[in-house]
């Protein structure tokens, strides 16, 4: 018995027939962004600035990989929105903890300061 094909007839045609050149360009862009992170690691800038720049670059790298390596850009817009919005909401909702980590560091306004932190 032959199994029914899993992919429905109305699914958009295979997008993996994109020219290899496009994949190579995306690959080199991601490589350059990754290299940029390594350069920033040795830059003489503050830790916060380093973190922000590295985060932005990582998001750009991830965006390229998601859209072109994982072909999310070629899927139906509804699916793209589902993945981005659903994942984005979960990831953003996780950021609640940061305020508490600053409270631990600074000891304010709801707790006693951690020993040694304020006097460094």
């Amino acid at each position: 018995m032959v199994d029914a094909p899993d992919v429905q007839k109305h699914e958009p045609p295979a997008r993996y027939t994109d020219p290899i050149r496009r994949y190579l360009i995306i690959y080199f862009c991601i490589l350059v962004l990754a290299a940029l992170q390594f350069f920033i690691a040795y830059a003489h800038i503050g830790a916060t600035a380093k973190f922000e720049r590295m985060l932005l670059i990582a998001i750009a790298e991830a965006g390229l990989a998601l859209m072109f390596f994982m072909h999310l850009w070629a899927e139906r817009r509804g699916f793209l929105v589902f993945v981005i919005v659903f994942t984005g909401f979960v990831l953003i909702a996780m950021q609640y903890g940061w305020t508490d980590s600053y409270r631990m560091e600074l000891g304010a306004p709801y707790s006693q300061p951690k020993q040694g932190v304020l006097h460094q």
Binding site: I20, Y27, Q37, M54, I57, L91, Q115
Partner: protein, 207 residues
């Protein structure tokens, strides 16, 4: 207009017409749901790591060199490209080429894992464990091994999946869509590494 067309017009796709939601195959939808859940897992680990680091009075910076992590990053990024080429070959029916690219991807994963283990052994030889290290804050070891260990586990699982799916694909038991689904997982493992490198390694360089 036939009855089927009328039904198609009357209902949103995926509700009653038998069309999968978003016109995505069941396997692809399953892997995307897994990826979303796994992204939340890794994000939770990285947020917890950031929380600990931000709240700690002192945080170790034990990494003297970026050479190893740079090579690991290059290998993983390149393995994503080879995976892409493998799926592309599979989609046009070039079975042997698809299998070759898949094997190359798995090889990249194996080299990455070996380099990772070598790095772990180096840190362990310097006295670092899950609960202790010579640089002070014991939470560093716990968070480092947890995050990189979870990622290494994903790479290992990915290598096994690539080999199994690749072999079954060449024997005709799996099709190009199965290889595509495995590729999506592999790209995700690569994507996670893009966040692990800057936050766990590059921000902890000894300067």
């Amino acid at each position: 207009m036939g009855q089927a067309d009328l039904i198609m017009e009357a209902h949103a796709p995926g509700l009653t017409t038998g069309i999968p939601p978003f016109s995505v195959s069941a396997k692809k939808m399953a892997i995307w749901l897994f990826i979303i859940a796994d992204a939340a897992t890794f994000a939770a680990c990285l947020v917890a790591y950031g929380f600990l680091r931000n709240g700690a009075a002192y945080w170790p910076r034990p990494f003297h060199s970026i050479t190893n992590v740079a090579i690991m990053t290059f290998i993983l990024l390149t393995s994503s490209l080879t995976m892409l080429l493998g799926v592309r070959a599979a989609k046009v029916g070039a079975r042997s080429a698809a299998f070759g690219w898949t094997l190359l991807t798995a090889l990249g994963g194996i080299v990455f894992a070996l380099l990772h283990i070598r790095e772990w052994l180096g840190l362990i030889s310097e006295g670092m464990s899950m609960f202790h290290n010579q640089w002070g804050n014991p939470l560093f070891g716990a968070s480092f091994f947890s995050i990189t260990g979870l990622h290494l586990l994903h790479v290992t699982a990915g290598v096994v999946a690539l080999l199994v799916v690749g072999i079954r694909y060449t024997r005709g038991r799996y099709n190009a869509d199965d290889l595509e689904v495995t590729g999506l997982y592999w790209h995700f493992v690569d994507l996670v590494w893009m966040f692990v490198v800057p936050f766990v390694y590059l921000l902890n360089l000894s300067q």
